[in-house]
């Protein structure tokens, strides 16, 4: 058992692209955890998708050995954190496993909202903070100015900031020493009953879930019978160890250490982030604080493009869920789209990742409905229903009022984009709180937003109007009353449930007009006139008409070449499987996909 005086548990906090992964690579290299041959760019991100998007979706922990200038060998546990607003809670649990963080700021980009938000999380967890100014080798680096932002932000001295370039390796030696000197060793009593914090888990089809954990008190070893505080299920430990580049089994893990554990856990949903593991027979008296069962924030119907693929889609979702406890899905039927699933996601990014994985790994072509948040509907009979799908919205006559999730958010921007950003915020129903100027070059705008208004394309818009400089962060949602309506799209008088949305009354007309027009262009002409309407209850807001097709007949049945014409017919019949039937109207997939992408 290692003396915990020589353990350092830490994370890296950085905005996307500020060099977190490259810095992690340098630390691995410098401590010789990775040989040159094994060194890929950004070793911590092991999913292709993460690599492509340059973000870390699943956090991992890696152990490094570092021989410090005091000749003592230290055990470093670098705990990686997801770098996106969708995963705030996961970040908070990863940070709860640390005693310190490296606050990495790009010397050219400066401090961004994401970084500020994670810094607050670190401060709340009483972590030691080592400010690191990265990318100082860049020609566009503004080290003086950004250093000032950092000192303003954490109230440290300018001299405490470490200057480095993860790319060139400059300053890495000093950083390693700072980790030893400035981050305290973990507290915790190894003689007490086991208390271990779960901060991540990864599914392994052979061994069950690999649980990543930090031992806060006590110790755990193979053969121990453990239980999870949140649901009480018990398991027997197969293996404990730490992760270097591969798993390295250890005899035990004890207070202060970070590592992994296998216990034949079949479902990752049993390994909830933030949960506490203790002994089954001699449990600790209370769990560690801070556990929250993660709830999906964004909901969308996922339907197979071809009805026959339903079973395959279900199997694919089941497999994804094995490794992703935050994904939820329940069967759902739509008159237009047939059998599918209502899926819950942590946020838009999470949704996009699931969609891409379904497409890439499971070869599924899917149609998804317009995503929405979860609403609380207060009925006149004093009951409250939770609605995560427009089709579940009760009749308007029964509704007293509706609440929707709001979030408090901070936008950090150079002041010259303020006007345009505030216009965007107003357009997104933002409630203005205040503006602060921590430095003359930066404004921090505080707004409360309906979650539904900022989860879609708000971030992209914000980036584009601020030429990439503004950044956004928001907190955990709360509910507030809102003037919401259900907007239906009717085709020849029949509502197309898959196109219904819940929307603010003030925005309904514009949305309805734009969607009906878009559908008019995308729905192919049929033998009959097709009338597309947008309606709230019985009131029609917008209307568009697809003229009937007047002629569609091949002029010539080529000599005796009947085969060719028949094969064309057969191909059309095959294509028909992809068409969705609304009454007599056949609708291809494009309008459904386009409805999702509607500009507002």
């Amino acid at each position: 058992m290692i003396d915990k005086r020589y353990i350092r548990n830490f994370s890296i906090i950085a905005h996307i692209d500020h060099g977190k992964s490259t810095l992690a690579d340098r630390l691995l290299e410098a401590t010789a955890a990775v040989s040159e041959r094994m060194m890929r760019e950004q070793v911590l991100d092991d999913m292709d998708l993460e690599r492509e998007r340059g973000i870390t979706i699943k956090a991992h922990a890696i152990r490094l050995d570092y021989k410090a200038s005091d000749s003592q060998l230290y055990q470093f546990n670098l705990i990686d954190t997801p770098g996106h607003v969708d995963f705030t809670y996961e970040v908070s649990r990863s940070l709860a496993a640390c005693e310190g963080v490296l606050l990495v700021v790009d010397a050219a980009q400066g401090v961004e909202a994401q970084t500020v938000s994670n810094l607050f999380l670190a401060l709340q967890n009483n972590l030691a903070i080592i400010p690191v100014l990265n990318k100082i080798d860049l020609p566009s680096a503004r080290p003086e100015e950004v250093a000032k932002q950092i000192t303003d932000l954490i109230g440290c001295q300018k001299e405490e900031i470490l200057y480095c370039s993860a790319k060139t390796g400059q300053g890495i030696g000093e950083l390693l020493e700072a980790i030893v000197k400035q981050i305290p060793p973990p507290p915790g009593d190894p003689t007490k009953p086991l208390k271990a914090l779960v901060f991540d888990s990864v599914y392994d089809s052979y061994r069950g879930a690999a649980v990543y954990l930090k031992i806060v008190e006590g110790s755990v070893r193979k053969g121990d019978r453990i239980k999870f505080f949140s649901h009480g299920k018990q398991f027997e430990v197969d293996e404990v160890g730490c992760r270097r580049l591969q798993n390295m089994p250890l005899p035990s893990l004890s207070a202060g250490e970070v590592g992994y554990l296998y216990a034949g856990i079949k479902e990752v949903s049993d390994t909830r982030v933030g949960d506490t593991i203790t002994f089954a027979q001699y449990p600790a008296d209370a769990p560690l604080p801070g556990f929250v069962a993660v709830k999906p924030m964004v909901f969308s119907g996922l339907y197979p493009a071809i009805a026959e693929d339903y079973t395959e889609l279900r199997e694919a979702l089941e497999k994804l869920k094995l490794n992703d406890a935050s994904l939820s899905f329940t069967p759902e039927t739509s008159t237009a789209l047939g059998f599918g699933f209502r899926c819950g996601f942590l946020g838009m990014l999470h949704m996009e990742i699931i969609q891409e994985r379904l497409s890439r790994e499971y070869n599924q072509t899917i149609i998804n409905t317009v995503p929405n948040v979860e609403y609380l509907v207060y009925l006149k009979d004093q009951t409250v229903v939770t609605v995560d799908s427009p089709t579940e919205m009760p009749d308007a006559g029964k509704i007293d009022y509706i609440e929707e999730p709001y979030v408090d958010s901070q936008i950090i921007t150079p002041p010259d984009s303020l006007g345009a950003i505030m216009r965007l915020c107003t357009d997104r129903r933002g409630i203005y709180k205040n503006t602060e100027y921590p430095t003359p070059a930066r404004a921090v705008l505080s707004y409360a937003f309906p979650l539904s208004e900022i989860i879609f394309d708000f971030y992209d818009k914000l980036k584009s109007i601020s030429r990439g400089y503004a950044s956004l962060d928001y907190d955990i949602p709360y509910y507030m009353k809102s003037n919401l309506v259900k907007l239906d799209i009717l085709i020849n008088g029949e509502p197309v449930d898959a196109l219904s949305v819940i929307i603010h009354r003030d925005k309904a007309y514009k949305y309805g007009a734009s969607l009906t027009e878009k559908l008019r262009i995308l729905i192919p002409r049929q033998m009959f006139e097709v009338v597309i309407q947008a309606a709230i209850g019985g009131r029609i807001l917008a209307r568009a008409t697809v003229k009937p097709l007047r002629k569609n007949v091949t002029a010539k049945c080529y000599g005796g070449d009947i085969t060719r014409k028949r094969k064309l017919l057969e191909r059309q019949k095959e294509g028909k499987k992809r068409l969705k039937q609304v009454g007599r109207v056949e609708i291809p997939q494009e309008p459904f996909l386009a409805a999702l992408k509607i500009e507002d």
Binding site: R525, Q526, M527, F528, K547, L549, R550, K551, N552, V553, T554, A555, K556, C557, Y558, G559, G560, D561, I562, T563, K565, R566, L569, E570, Q572, K573, K576, R584, E586
Partner: protein, 379 residues
């Protein structure tokens, strides 16, 4: 049981950009080699036809440009046909002619060898439109061809027209219609231009160099053609076929009503004894195989579903429609069984389909939408 015979003449003087029938540029030597192969194919094919079925109801020589064929090509071919088959007393013998490759001697010769239904590929009377089709004939060629047919005493002849040409307006179509009706041919085929995949025309259309009339204009053109034809005593007996009573093309009807037919030459199709097969669309392979005494055949599926789809698809293109009794006898079930019940009901309600006790047929408003209707209807 009788048979129809199609012979493909795969040569043209120049290749038109819209056409995707199998053809190659005409050469005298090639024609001779082709003749030898064709005669071999005829000999081999006849062996597969039961003796009692070796009676021809109709012959159709198409192309390509069969009016380019030399006298001795035609003579040898007709001699062979006469040797192998009995010809029905009322044999219909159609022959496709490009107006510019016709003179009185040739037409007389065709008459002599038995052709009794020349078909003139006039397509349009507008030189500018003809140019977009790469057609080389002039206005006087068209008039002369029809004049010659009359002068030589052909009671039956046909004119092939095309509408929906690039830059064709309603006015230009109306001019064409008036011209063709003024010539009073007993039979008119009025095809809508189809932009076929891989043709030079398709490239021009895709590249935006040529613009076709839109769907509404095409529909109006088709309706206009149908109405004018009716007014002048022509009966629409199939999507694109108009005839004075008694002058329907028996050969084509056989395709649509699924009688037996034998096709010879590269790309030619056959339907004999409920089996569909075709020759490869490649002249050199055709010649090579036949020089070894092998027919270059590709067989289509034998599935009953395919035959049913075809019967519905073809039946609904004709004015008569699908004959219930014939369908039931052939497939052992009523035609409704092969159709989507709900769709059928909706289409009847909408006035696109008119069923009666003997037939199911498309109405005048249904026929222009035949493809759309068939796609929805076939199970």
């Amino acid at each position: 049981m009788s048979l129809s015979l199609y012979i493909h003449f795969p040569f043209c003087a120049n290749l038109c950009g819209y056409c995707d029938f199998y053809k190659t540029t005409y050469h005298t030597e090639q024609e001779q080699i082709y003749l030898d192969a064709l005669r071999t194919e005829l000999r081999l094919a006849v062996n597969d036809v039961p003796v009692e079925s070796r009676v021809l109801d109709s012959i159709y020589i198409g192309g390509g440009t069969p009016s380019l064929a030399s006298f001795h090509f035609l003579r040898d071919l007709i001699d062979d046909i006469n040797n192998y088959f009995r010809l029905a007393r009322d044999l219909e013998f159609s022959f496709e002619i490009n107006p510019e490759s016709l003179d009185s001697v040739k037409l007389e010769y065709l008459k002599k060898i038995g052709v009794n239904r020349p078909i003139f590929g006039i397509q349009s009377f507008n030189l500018r439109l003809l140019k977009t089709l790469d057609r080389k004939h002039k206005l006087e060629d068209s008039f002369r061809a029809v004049y010659l047919a009359r002068a030589l005493g052909f009671a039956n002849f046909g004119v092939d027209m095309i509408f929906g040409l690039p830059r064709q307006s309603a006015k230009l179509l109306s001019d064409d219609l008036n011209q063709v009706i003024a010539l009073e041919p007993p039979h008119i085929s009025y095809y809508q231009l189809t932009v076929e995949k891989g043709t030079p025309l398709e490239k021009k259309v895709t590249a935006g160099k040529l613009r076709l009339p839109d769907n509404d204009l095409l529909a109006a053109m088709y309706r206009g053609i149908s109405e004018e034809m009716k007014k002048h005593g022509y009966f629409r007996y199939e999507v694109s076929s108009f005839a004075r009573p008694g002058f329907e093309c028996r050969h084509n009807l056989r395709y649509w009503e699924e009688g037996d037919f034998l096709g010879l030459g590269p790309s030619a199709h056959s339907f004999i004894g409920n089996r569909r097969f075709a020759n490869l669309s490649d002249l050199s392979v055709y010649i090579q195989k036949l020089s070894k005494g092998v027919r270059p055949l590709i067989f289509d599926t034998d599935s009953i579903d395919s035959r049913i789809s075809e019967a519905i698809m073809l039946g609904l293109r004709t004015a008569r429609g699908i004959e219930r009794e014939h369908f039931a006898r052939r497939f052992g079930m009523p035609v409704e069984k092969a159709l989507r019940e709900e769709t059928l009901r909706a289409l009847i309600d909408a006035g696109f389909i008119a069923p009666d006790s003997s037939h199911i047929r498309l109405t005048d408003s249904g026929l222009p939408l035949a493809d759309e209707i068939i796609r929805r209807l076939v199970k």
